[in-house]
Amino acid sequence: MTTYHQMGHGSVGLLSEDRLRGYRGAILSPVNYSEAQIQDQIAANRRSEFELIFDPQLYYPGTNRGKLPDWSYFPAGVETGDLSSLAWWTSLVGHLASVTSRLHPDSICSPAAVPRVYSPEYYDLNRRIADSLVSAVEGEDVGVLQTVLARLETLSQPNVAAEVASVASRCTSDRVYLVLVSDIGPRREFRGTEDLKGAMRLINYLEAADIRVLVAYTSSDVILWKAAGASECATGKFFNLRRFTSSRWEPPPEGGGQLSYWMEESMMAFLRESDLIRVRHAGLLAPASLSNPYGTEILNSLDNSPGESWLALGWRQYMYWLCDFEKRLDSGTIVPEDALRNAEQVWDRLEAPNILMEERPNDGGWLRPWRRALAEALP
């Protein structure tokens, strides 16, 4: 069990769902909840071999998002504060340690802000912030994960992964919470081969130094991070709508509801309802999709109650899949290279009968960069 549930708005109920019990832990977010509510969540979900990690979510300290400003560690006067100063962060870490002491999660991520420039000095500052958090919570029996925010496209530059890993590995904490920052649109897959190779190398360097990496905000790209050696990955029900981009912290656009999506392993793709119906009809759904209990419910619903929304089942179908998929990756049942090659072949088979996905960019075109990244990233 190495999958973590990245908590979002209204997803707390999923933690206690029996069929999603395969998760290793949950990453709690203060954005939509008060301290008292998070305290309740911790109390309700504390159980053995289930890790509750608190992420302070200070990626954009100037953003008054959700309930974040109500938290006692949320900084005042960000506009005039020197965010490049360790002293500024150390003071914040002190407040965060007090909150940690009251909440008592199993672990906490160090606070980190998304910078304008991803310089070595920035990574070194984040490393020092994490070290100061380790000191601040000493004796609390709370683990610390060093948050490493890495912009995906900067990782494509030669040696950046080695440099970032060298700096991050100076931290006294043996765990990294890796957030890959990008500008990618909702539901789209990363397609930059060199970016992906850089990210995979970063993970691999850290893991080779016995630093456990938890990759946050993952999706089907989990296959790459696990192949690079990542110990753990986290995902949430909203992963397929929004990844870690700056837009994630902006208010959602007006109008329009959420659509239901189905995660299809045979194509390593998210399908809309009409896509699902046609791919199913072509007999190309993966065995894992057909045995996914939530998938079965969705298919039954399509057969018996056509037109009925299956949005909530879609979240669960995806979350069940990711946990199960990661388990199979860990056990070696799935060989990443084979899985991606097979997926590309399934997309090829869809070409002749002209089975096209509803969303134009949903064309499987990311599989080639992924396969290249797998083949080239690591020695």
Partner: protein
């Protein structure tokens, strides 16, 4: 005769010895930052008296003194006294430290040629322990080289000397960021030193230098030395700086010896080396088992 501001350094040394009831001995050597003399007291105990050049005194000297005072390790020279001595209208800073009398590693290599695996395992083991001691105090020596490793005559233990370039990671750096190259002896320096990448300097920087020293002591070559180059080739240092490839024979040479750890110790990026001194120490001892 060595002069400092027109004054013979030997005269300054004699004056300091006189003030401290010591008898001045011969000059032990002179470097970029200081000149060292032998001195002994009335009971026959021998000390090393180091006089700091006036233009480099203060911040670096203070850093060195503070660093060594925090150390208490059999492989790190002991510091007895630090002070300023007025002479001829000027103030001279000086250090009186333990005199180590077994000769430098450099001299041993000149006389014996090279160390065998067993000697190297023992030397490495003790110096790794010294690095662990320094790392535990957030100190980076930054100038580990055969000249700065002196043996104790009575026990044969190696002692790390000359902390003139020591970096205290808990204190602000004294090296200007705009310099293309950080301080240290280039031939034994890590890539991050050669590139003045201050954010990458930590105990793993010393690990690299120690790896080069040990490889040099065993094989009389540098891990990044390529066939056909002179032994101290500038190209070798440049290759380290650009994080180029190690020598063609490096892997084969290591495979024939017991010294597998030297591979990881001398890798180009800190992340590729041993993360903690404890892990290095364990791996180093494992080499004895084979």
């Amino acid at each position: 005769m060595e002069l400092e501001n027109g004054v013979a350094i030997a005269d300054v040394a004699a004056s300091i010895c006189s003030a401290h009831r010591l008898v001045l001995g011969d000059c032990l050597g002179s470097g970029a930052f200081k000149t060292a003399y032998r001195a002994n007291d009335s009971s026959g105990v021998i000390y090393a008296l180091k006089i700091i050049r006036s233009n480099v005194a203060s911040p670096r000297t203070n850093r060195e003194v503070q660093a060594v005072r925090r150390c208490d390790h059999r492989c790190i020279a002991r510091l007895y006294e630090v002070g300023s001595h007025p002479y001829n209208g000027s103030l001279y800073e000086f250090i009186i430290e333990e005199y180590i009398d077994g000769g430098m590693l450099t001299s041993r290599l000149e006389s014996d040629g090279q160390l065998d695996d067993e000697e190297l395992l023992s030397l490495g083991s003790m110096l790794i322990d010294a690095l662990a001691h320094l790392a535990g105090r957030d100190l980076v020596h930054r100038d580990i080289k055969p000249d700065n490793i002196i043996y104790r005559a009575e026990t044969g233990e190696p002692v790390l000397v000359d902390f003139g370039l020591v970096r205290d990671l808990a204190a602000p750096s004294l090296t200007p960021s705009h310099l293309p190259r950080g301080p240290g002896t280039p031939y034994f320096a890590a890539p991050e030193q050669l590139n003045n990448q201050k954010h990458l300097i930590d105990w793993r920087t010393d690990q690299f230098s120690l790896g080069v020293v040990l490889y040099f002591a065993r094989f009389r070559s540098h891990p990044y030395h390529h066939t056909g180059e002179p032994i101290y080739a500038r190209e070798t240092v440049e290759r380290v700086a650009v994080r180029g490839s190690r020598g063609e024979t490096f892997n084969a040479v290591l495979e024939e010896s017991q010294l597998r750890c030297l591979d990881k110790m001398t890798r180009a990026w800190p992340i590729e080396r041993y993360r903690t001194p404890q892990r290095l120490a364990l791996a180093w001892e494992d080499q004895r088992i084979g």
